[in-house]
Subunit: 239 residues, 2 copies
DNA sequence: TGTACATCAGTGAACGCGCGTTCACTGATGTAC
DNA sequence: TGTACATCAGTGAACGCGCGTTCACTGATGTAC
């Protein structure tokens, strides 16, 4: 790692092996992602190895076991979704709060439609017997932090409808205050509470669509989704 | 079936076999339900047979294959949830629209918390490779029809806040009108559209809680849930 | 620059399991006369 | 009421698969002197 020995191409010799290793790791994950469609979270290491053209025990050079591979896929999925949300929202002028909120909503839905099995992995039913380790937590929060930014900016500029008289039920307030202190500085309690409700609606709507609850019920899905998200914007106070 | 031959106990002889068969079928499903917790939707027929104390091929007297057993579990789950919702709502005075709505919401959440794996089976990620047959449709709609009743009654009595000027986006209106004509007579379009949004919020919230999205985020779950459901009541126009 | 040694990716065999489904069968229960 | 026959639940063996993980190994690549 810190070796000064240089390869003819100008790279430290050690990093060649490291680079090949990183590429191999990515390829394993890419194949595993494809297999999510077939097996769901019941991912088969042997099937991944077959597709990779390698003996199944070779995978253990890269992942300690099946759960480790699943964890890597989960973290990647959260990060991909987080990146999609962040960059979609960043492209909207800061003053356009409604545009920013709708950009977030559509980024979530578009990403989920494009990788439904990865979406199911992170927002669907938990995998039986699998316990997510703590390093999934940070990637999982990237999306909602973007919403936090919208609420903060709207509060600072006065564009977010203030609710001076609103009183939250005491236990709800306790959760909201802790959340605000931990992760959402500068966001009023009522805005955060309403924002969380909108966040639940966002994922509830995407999950209904992806998990088949809209079959034979809703045909115009994008429009129905946007109608709901605009309704939530109004409820949150984003205009 | 139509035989007049009577057994000494006063039952048609054929029905004894039929009754034993029905009991056996119920027992298989009961054991299978317990196994959902371990295997998720990846249910093992052999494991069910072991628990039943029977050879695995014996199950084929009762279910043609694994998917048929899964289908039976799905239908039972929808019916159990439908019954829970219907009877909780029926216990509230008809004029108390908010009480009826909250009874529906808590019935869904309570049932889901009591049988989380059955909830995941019907509202979680779809089972890879499994296609639900059409006879799951009717049981699946029982819950939302109860909401329809609340909207209808509220409209008839004038208690549901009317939204005379509200215009839905055209594609949304198309879906809503079709839905209304098929299953929700007497419910105004805007009420139905808002009701659907509330319905999505209800299941979004329950799924977030059950599928682990509230871990380290929301501690007071019942209160947080009720706060959200009251917010949606206000949005729908239920007071 | 050359050589001895260490690291590490991938192999192939094995362990000890699991699974859904089919099929010919036995023996008990129910039906028809 | 008694008897011959039909129905049907459950058995046990088999087919043809699948799986995660371990382990001793080979041979290529990288490192240190």
């Amino acid at each position: 790692m810190t070796s000064m020995t240089e390869h003819s191409a100008g790279r430290p010799a050690a990093s060649i092996r490291a680079r090949v290793r990183a590429e191999m790791t990515e390829e394993i994950k890419a194949i595993a992602r494809r297999h999510l469609a077939v097996d769901g979270a019941n991912l088969s290491l042997r099937a991944v190895a077959r597709d990779l053209g390698v003996v199944s025990s070779a995978l253990y050079r890269y992942f300690a076991n099946r759960d480790d591979l699943l964890t890597a896929l989960i973290i990647d999925a959260y990060n991909a979704l987080g990146t999609a949300v962040e960059s979609a929202e960043a492209a909207v002028p800061r003053a356009d709060l409604l545009g920013r909120w709708l950009a977030v909503c559509h980024a979530v839905r578009d990403w989920a439609l494009a990788q439904p099995y990865e979406y199911a992995l992170i927002y669907g039913s938990p995998v039986p017997g699998y316990q997510a380790p703590t390093d999934t937590v940070a990637p999982a929060t990237r999306g909602v932090l973007v919403l936090g930014g919208i609420l903060r900016d709207g509060t600072a500029s006065g564009a977010l409808s203030p609710r001076p008289g609103e009183r939250l039920p005491k236990p709800v307030r306790a959760d909201i205050v802790r959340l605000r202190d931990e992760a959402f500085p500068g966001v009023p309690e009522s805005a955060l509470a309403r924002g969380m409700t909108g966040w639940v609606q966002l994922f509830g709507s995407v999950s209904f669509e992806l998990f088949g609850q809209y079959n034979n019920v809703v045909d115009h899905r994008r429009e129905f989704f946007e109608y709901q998200m605009r309704a939530m914007a109004g409820y949150i106070g984003i205009t």
